[in-house]
């Protein structure tokens, strides 16, 4: 206590500069958040209501660009694809949880298994797309391999099939991100109290029932986080499309972010790109609002 009493007499001015040093240190981040994030978002939202084409043009046109956007069959297709992709990406979480459960307990070589499941996460999505494009190659890849084994009519040409190309993207994306969800689920499983398991052993409850009825509900936070991350991943998906399909065949693997970037960079239609990205933002917001509410609803019903 002694010294602090003495130091309490520190000149006010010094405290003043201290306080300001902290505020100054926070300024670059505050500035970046306000200008580059909020400002940019606002600018795009405003642009979506204007007639801007190659150059910004402040002529207000109301919702006309949104009407145009939703009349574009490619945009509608991209939203449809986004839903498929997001649903398919759930496989990463299911498989990741399954692997995390299997790795619970003393499995020999658990560390090696984890390392193998997770390494795709360290690789660029451009590479993921490229290697899966190669595996899906109809005459030299997996399809040919299975045909050589004897199944002459085997068809696994997903990348070139308009109806199945999204599944090919999902396979590649699940390969890339399953390890990550395994890690998240492992962390969630570790957080569960040891006594829960002991109690179940004493009561003789089989393990699978414990997982279904006790552990999974207890891990709702982990799953909620995972769902948010999965949806953000789906909204963000761009690189993997470029590397694997470039949107083809015939636009059947276009996702909204691909559509928007293409609209800005190649088709040079600012207002339409802005309208698309505003819709994307609304999707994210709706999802972020809906998920906690659903979670709350589930908890209420249980209680």
């Amino acid at each position: 206590m002694g010294p602090s009493v003495i130091r309490a007499a520190t000149p006010r001015q010094e405290a003043f500069t201290h306080k300001h040093a902290a505020t100054i240190a926070a300024l670059p981040v505050l500035g970046a958040a306000l200008v580059f994030y909020l400002g940019s978002t606002l600018w795009s939202v405003v642009m979506s209501f204007t007639a801007s084409k190659i150059f910004p043009d402040m002529t207000f046109v109301g919702l006309r660009q949104y009407l145009r956007l939703f009349k574009d069959s490619l945009w509608a297709l991209s939203l449809h694809n986004l839903a498929i992709f997001a649903l398919g990406s759930l496989l990463s979480l299911v498989l990741g949880f399954f692997l995390a459960v299997l790795l619970e307990g003393d499995v020999p070589g658990a560390g090696i298994f984890r390392t193998i499941y997770l390494y795709p996460m360290a690789i660029s999505l451009i590479i993921t797309g490229l290697v899966w494009q190669w595996l899906f190659n109809p005459t030299l890849g997996l399809q040919q391999f299975v045909r050589d084994l004897g199944a002459r009519d085997f068809v696994f040409n997903w990348v070139a099939d308009p109806q199945k190309v999204m599944y090919a993207l999902i396979v590649a994306s699940v390969w890339q991100s399953t390890g990550f969800y395994m890690v998240l689920c492992s962390a969630g499983l570790k957080g569960i109290d040891h006594e829960v398991w002991q109690a179940s052993r004493i009561d003789g409850i089989p393990k699978y029932r414990m997982y279904l009825e006790v552990i999974i509900p207890m891990m709702s936070f982990t799953f909620l986080t995972s769902l948010v991350l999965l949806s953000i991943g789906a909204v963000k998906a761009y690189d993997i499309i470029v590397a694997m399909t470039n949107g083809g065949p015939g636009g059947h693997s276009v996702l909204p972010s691909y559509y928007i970037v293409d609209m800005y960079i190649n088709r040079r239609f600012i207002a339409l790109g802005a309208a698309g990205s505003t819709v994307l933002l609304l999707i994210v917001v709706a999802f972020l609002v809906a998920l906690p509410l659903i979670n709350l609803g589930l908890r209420r019903r249980k209680a």
Partner: protein, 301 residues
């Protein structure tokens, strides 16, 4: 009291369970091996394909080991593969990636750590408001800020330069990195800072002499996350760079997409492996720290 019933349970368990238990363990192990093979398969295919000649690849045995393994495709990929405008292979892209990575790593980590420190220990005016603002920023999808960022980098004469790419990477990393640092620093006992302040420590002095020595782990975790994230980025490099400054991933994509006629998959796979080596090396060396990095950085984007 509670210890009384347990011994009896423990005594009945070992007799009843082991055989069934061992069977379950073997099954578990086999399933894990199956998935390990499945996950390792693409990497295996990349490696064997990169060591084959095109003549051998045309035979169609994608999983076969190379008959005459050689590094010709690696040499071509690194030195002379055509990527749109030039025939200089991947090596220029490699150096561009390094040139993009180093400044963005330094800028993002230093700015975010100092701000995180200010938010954790000092009464920053409206600090909590800033934190909520950063959380919002972390959820804003990149496409909506892409075009305005292009306009701003053009105005700042940073567009189409490698430093411009670094600046954009820094901007995109700031919200999440600041939150990570702030959360980590908050776990450091406040008393330490108070003691340092009492000893006359100033804002930056306390940061350098007290806080940083306590945080080597978080710095490594963040560095790993940033290095792999920036190295693997494609879209930022593509949109904000130009032919002279494209990172390795863009270079790789150009090599695989601009060639007409025969698709030389041995060269593509060699190029892909060359691009993947730096983050893979970091991954295999850093292990648990990498895991912490991707878990902490998961919200990025």
């Amino acid at each position: 009291m509670t210890a009384v019933p347990r011994p009896s349970v423990a005594m009945t368990l070992p007799n009843a369970i082991p055989v069934k238990h061992r069977g379950a363990k073997v099954t578990t192990f086999l399933i894990l091996v199956f998935f390990a093979l499945l996950f390792a398969l693409p990497l295996y295919v990349m490696i064997v394909t990169s060591l084959k000649s095109m003549d051998e690849i045309r035979l169609g045995h994608i999983f076969a080991l190379p008959q005459h393994p050689n590094f010709d495709a690696w040499d071509t990929a690194w030195n002379k593969a055509a990527s749109g405008f030039t025939n200089t292979g991947l090596k220029s892209g490699f150096w561009n990636s390094v040139l993009i990575l180093v400044p963005s790593l330094i800028m993002s980590v230093s700015i975010a750590s100092i701000c995180g420190y200010a938010l954790a220990f000092w009464r920053v005016k409206m600090g909590n408001l800033l934190l909520s603002l950063l959380l919002v920023c972390a959820f804003i999808p990149f496409p909506i800020i892409m075009y305005p960022l292009i306009k701003m980098t053009v105005a700042l004469k940073l567009y189409n330069t490698s430093f411009g790419v670094s600046v954009v990477h820094t901007i995109l990393a700031l919200p999440i990195l600041t939150m990570i640092f702030r959360n980590f620093f908050s776990s450091i006992p406040q008393d330490l800072i108070k003691a340092a302040r009492i000893d006359g420590g100033r804002f930056l002095g306390t940061f350098v002499h007290v806080i940083l020595p306590l945080s080597p782990n978080i710095l490594v975790v963040v560095a790993i996350m940033q290095i792999t994230g920036i190295w693997n980025d494609f879209l930022i490099g593509l949109t904000f760079g130009n032919v002279q400054s494209y990172p390795m991933t863009v270079n790789l994509n150009n090599i695989t997409q601009t060639q007409t006629g025969v698709r030389t998959y041995n060269i593509y796979m060699a190029a892909a492996l060359l691009t993947a080596i730096p983050p893979l090396v970091i991954y295999f060396i850093s292990g648990k720290l990498f895991i912490r990095g991707i878990t902490a950085g998961a919200m990025k984007g």
